[in-house]
């Protein structure tokens, strides 16, 4: 069954077309990822689905409710965590949760079951002002506030931005538990290894959805030959590899650089020989399998 449906949604700000006839469906209980560059339209889509702004054209439905005409009922069954920290900084952790509980006609005690995992981590700081929490704790508090009324659908706009790697893993464990409980979760992220944990991912570019697919299929359909190269000097290596015949594009990737080639590429041995000739040491060039992040790079650089 479909939980979220968007049909030909468009939104323009002045001369900027933020969304161009965007359509997608998210099934009930799905963990659905949105990826794309800054300004691609992810936040605009979240705001329309959460009934916070009106689309110029197109229709949406969330659990059968229209964000335009049924916004009151829709807000009772959705949770929304905006990209920017939007809780009350001068209220304590507990006061923020109680405030949101009251707004949604419930109590901390009644909503506690769903948020118990996260609330336990916050409890030692429950009397601390929200503004004085670390980045990871702020995001956990915001998630608690978005979940306090046990929504059927959860919208999370870059919830792990500014969050350290350990807290990010904890945050995603919580999301998986929520999905297992049957909640529909739509989440955007700039971290491709997080996107890889979603059931399906939509890639948005300049206001249009280029595809929505499972991470497995995205990686399978990469369709290019990908190599990794490393040497004793990594900074200048980028431009030197880029200038070699047959390299379509090359980008840094942790402890190596990745590159994609066309038919005129003369092979890894020829490249290694060329690099040794211009003074590089410890050169390794090898064919590798793409990851989600390589697929993102391919679509963005195309």
């Amino acid at each position: 069954m479909d939980s979220i449906i968007a049909e030909n949604i468009s939104k323009t700000y002045g001369t900027v077309k933020a969304l161009k006839e965007v359509s997608l469906t998210v099934q009930k209980g799905e963990l659905f990822g949105l990826i794309g560059a800054d300004g691609a339209g992810k936040t605009t889509l979240f705001r329309i689905l959460a009934s916070l702004i009106l689309p110029d054209a197109g229709k949406a439905s969330v659990e059968g409710l229209d964000p335009v005409s049924d916004y009151r009922r829709l807000r009772c069954i959705t949770g929304y965590m905006p990209g920017r920290f939007s809780l009350y900084g001068d209220l304590t952790v507990e006061e923020n949760i109680r405030f949101y509980a009251t707004v949604f006609g419930t109590t901390l005690e009644a909503g506690r079951v769903l948020i118990d995992d996260i609330y336990k981590q916050l409890e030692p700081f429950r009397n601390r002002a929200a503004s004085r929490l670390s980045g990871g704790m702020k995001q956990k508090l915001a998630l608690c506030c978005a979940l306090i009324h046990s929504p059927s659908v959860l919208f999370l706009d870059e919830p792990t931005t500014g969050v350290d790697p350990v807290s990010r893993r904890e945050f995603w464990l919580v999301l998986k538990h929520l999905r297992e409980s049957g909640m529909t979760v739509m989440v955007s992220t700039p971290y491709m290894e997080e996107a890889g944990q979603c059931g399906r991912i939509a890639f948005i570019k300049e206001g249009s959805i280029l595809y929505s697919e499972t991470p497995g299929r995205i990686v399978e359909s990469f369709g290019e030959t990908l190599y990794a190269v490393s040497s004793d000097r990594m900074h200048t290596l980028l431009d030197d590899v880029r200038s070699f015949t047959g390299i379509k594009y090359c980008y840094s990737f942790g402890d190596s650089h990745h590159f994609v080639v066309d038919e005129s590429f003369s092979g890894e041995k020829a490249l290694a020989g060329y690099l040794a000739g211009i003074g590089y040491g410890n050169i390794t060039v090898k064919k590798i399998q793409p990851t989600m992040e390589d697929c993102y790079m391919k679509l963005s650089l195309r």
Binding site: D38, G39, S134, G136, V163, D164, V166, G254, M297, S300
Partner: protein
């Protein structure tokens, strides 16, 4: 003060009975890209404020760009550049106005500002946006511009506090290529990040846990020292021990 851009010994900062930074010591060489990692709340921002001359340590000593962190904070401020993910530029000023404002604050002469602005904008491929309000630029563009502004006055050291937070994979890489070029010119780069692939791009990194530096070295030395495949594994091994939020 010799060859090092930053030298600190036993740097400590207490707020009441809470020790945010707990006797940290390290040096950063000139032209080095130094990654300052740690979990949220580990004490990175507090330490960085002291290094930038914005806060005095409770204990410890050191120099930044050759100036004493206790007595010469004003000289430190003039010798460094700074950008953060949270605040960097004024949304309601144009691209060119932001540059002029910061250049003026750092004492770049009026005669210098105009040609340098044109050069910076050309390098960024931003010339067409010269008179655009910064508030209407996408985040990734803002961050690249903020970085160019932070190094506009040719500081000895540039401090970058989560410069790529929330920035997409393509723009993050463009940002790091700007960092490489800056470091290759001899400017020291001191950077925090939560992206562990970016930790690999640093010459050396330190990892803070609960106010202390628990590990310091080149990415390859840390990986072999911890028997880890990548920097994320190293980070997870260390930061899981953290006790405070």
């Amino acid at each position: 003060m010799g060859e090092n851009a930053i030298e600190v010994r036993n740097l400590t900062k207490r707020f009441g009975d809470f020790t945010a930074v707990d006797h940290i010591s390290f040096t950063v060489g000139k032209g080095e890209i130094f990654g300052f990692l740690g979990a949220n709340g580990a004490g990175k921002s507090t330490a960085m404020k002291i290094l930038c001359g914005l806060s005095l340590p409770t204990e410890g000593e050191g120099t930044v760009a050759g100036y004493d962190i206790l007595k010469e904070t004003e000289s430190i401020k003039k010798s460094i550049g700074y950008m953060s993910q949270r605040f960097s530029l004024y949304d309601d000023l144009t691209v060119a106005e932001n540059i002029r404002l910061y250049a003026g604050i750092y004492g770049v002469s009026d005669k210098e500002i105009s040609p340098r602005t044109d050069k910076v904008l050309a390098n960024l491929d931003f010339t067409a946006e010269k008179n655009t309000m910064v508030g209407s630029l996408p985040l990734g563009w803002k961050q690249k511009l903020a970085f160019s502004v932070a190094v506009f006055h040719h500081p000895k050291i540039v401090f970058l506090d989560e410069p790529t937070g929330g920035v997409d994979p393509v723009t993050r890489r463009q940002f790091w290529e700007m960092i490489y070029k800056t470091a290759d010119k001899g400017i020291t780069v001191f950077v925090t990040t939560h992206y562990m692939d970016e930790a690999e791009y640093c010459d050396r990194v330190s990892i803070m846990v609960d106010g202390r530096i628990e590990a310091l070295g080149s990415p390859s030395a840390l990986k072999s020292g911890f028997g880890a495949n990548n920097m994320d594994d190293v980070f997870q091994k260390l930061a899981r021990k953290a006790e405070r939020g």
